[in-house]
Amino acid sequence: MSDFEKLGVVIKYEFLKHIRRARLYIILGIALLAEALVLILVPTLMTGGFPDNVKVMAALLTVGPSMAALGAVFFAGDAIAGEYESKTGFLLFTNPIKRILLWSGKYLAGFIAIALLMIFTYIIIAISLLAIYQEVPIEIFKSFGLALFYAAATLSTTFFFSALSKGSMGATIMTLVFVWVICGILESVLALTGNPYWYVLSAGGDSIALVYGGMEQMMSGFGGGFGGGSDMLNMFKSPTLGMAAWGMTIYFVGGFIASIFLAKRRQLS
């Protein structure tokens, strides 16, 4: 039996685990709820209903896929740590398969699950935009590609913490703190001090919306911006999409390689 066939078997059963777990549907629910909130709150709170520019609304609706991408944390938190913590590794590791194939299969199964969530959230975005504006901006494909890339980077980062951590919960919390708190603070500080921040993971997340235009364009879509706040916004120099993609590549490749290295050193004693 070839390694490729074994990888296929791991993906198949790991994916089966994902679709049988409630967390997939909870994350999908949260992502759809986020999109629903945008669709309800924007016309309610804005005078004149939805923004005139379809791209502004498309950018706002990317909150759904962004939430779905963070689902990676919940799919992958137990990918490596769980095998040791729940001792399922005592059975899995006695099978004649290279560990790298096991981890790669788990990674790909998680990625497929997130990609499905993404596709679903983007379909909702497209339908909503068609219903409201009778058009869908072509940038939606770029946004979708970057969202998948961001999910892959987040998945790799979670794998890294899962390989490092003793337990699944620890891995999940560490990743959430890293992505939401540490990266968030770092990005804000770097942006406000005029420094480049393309290499911060959350900048990759921002790029999902920035394909529709810069921060300034977004704010003008709301009818003139936020008064004095627009001075502050001018200080933000959003990274180019290319730079944001490079930043995500670091986490995607680096996180995965580091997780494989760490997991290889772990033993089930």
Binding site: V9, L91, T94, P96
Partner: protein
């Protein structure tokens, strides 16, 4: 006939604790050997090294002549193992689980389906075959563990306390299955249940503090120490 399992000068440290101290042992093909010793004697460590779960600090271990550390995949393809109380993915059913592990071992199609059905019947899990394992008791998991051990009809069985958590009927059924399998296979079997070992194995290895204290047939040990229990107690320092 050659040796199915060869352990040569195996040592293993956990930090500063020496769990295995230059252990050497040979398990001949198609023999059923019990591995006895008190808690912390090094039994599980030995079996985990044989199953590629941990690496030895020094020494070698071979399954059917294949170095477990150098060629783990080839060595693992020759064994079926239960180490500790088996834990399964709670979202899969026994049928899913056996299909998963069977496919990882290159089994597929109708022969795999037939084998899965056969084994589920053998371990008495027919009623539960399509239920998620998350609902299973320890004994049911142990039964499923035995099924996955036999799934690919391996020539070598490595079992660590396989009847732990089973009810008395389960223990008897389990013993009969292992005894049946042991006629055609090599069984290396760690247990605290001396009665069980006596009924399944012809020979035992007694270890303590990671060292081999005795390796002989049960008959010989009984001649020397009156009973296997006394042999165990005297050798491990209990009497």
């Amino acid at each position: 006939m050659g040796d199915s399992i060869v352990i040569e000068n195996l040592s293993r440290y956990y930090g500063k604790f020496l769990a295995l101290d230059n252990l050497s042992l040979r398990v001949p093909e198609k023999e059923n050997i019990g591995l006895l010793g008190p808690n912390g004697a090094g039994k599980s460590t030995t079996l985990k090294i044989l199953c590629g779960l941990i690496q030895p600090t020094s020494g070698k271990a071979y399954i059917d002549g294949i170095d477990v550390v150098a060629h783990p995949e080839q060595a693992l393809s020759r064994i079926g193992a239960i180490i500790e109380t088996p834990e399964f993915y709670s979202f899969l059913t026994p049928v899913d689980t056996l299909n998963y592990f069977g496919q990882l071992r290159g089994m597929k199609g109708e022969p795999l389906n037939k084998r899965v059905k056969e084994l589920i019947a053998l371990v008495g899990l027919e009623k539960w075959s399509k239920e998620k394992i998350g609902k299973f008791s320890r004994g049911m998991k142990q039964r499923l563990g035995l099924a996955q051990t036999l799934l690919h009809d391996p020539p070598v069985l490595i079992l660590d306390e396989p009847s732990l958590g089973l009810d008395p009927r389960g223990v008897v059924e389990f013993r009969e299955i292992i005894k049946g399998a042991g006629k055609e296979k090599t069984v290396f079997f760690a247990s605290h249940q001396l009665v069980e070992v006596t009924q399944i194995c012809s020979k035992v290895a007694i270890i303590n503090n990671g060292k081999l204290l005795a390796y002989d047939s049960i008959t010989e040990l009984e001649k020397k120490y009156q009973t296997l229990e006394l042999a165990y107690l005297k050798l491990t320092g209990g009497v």
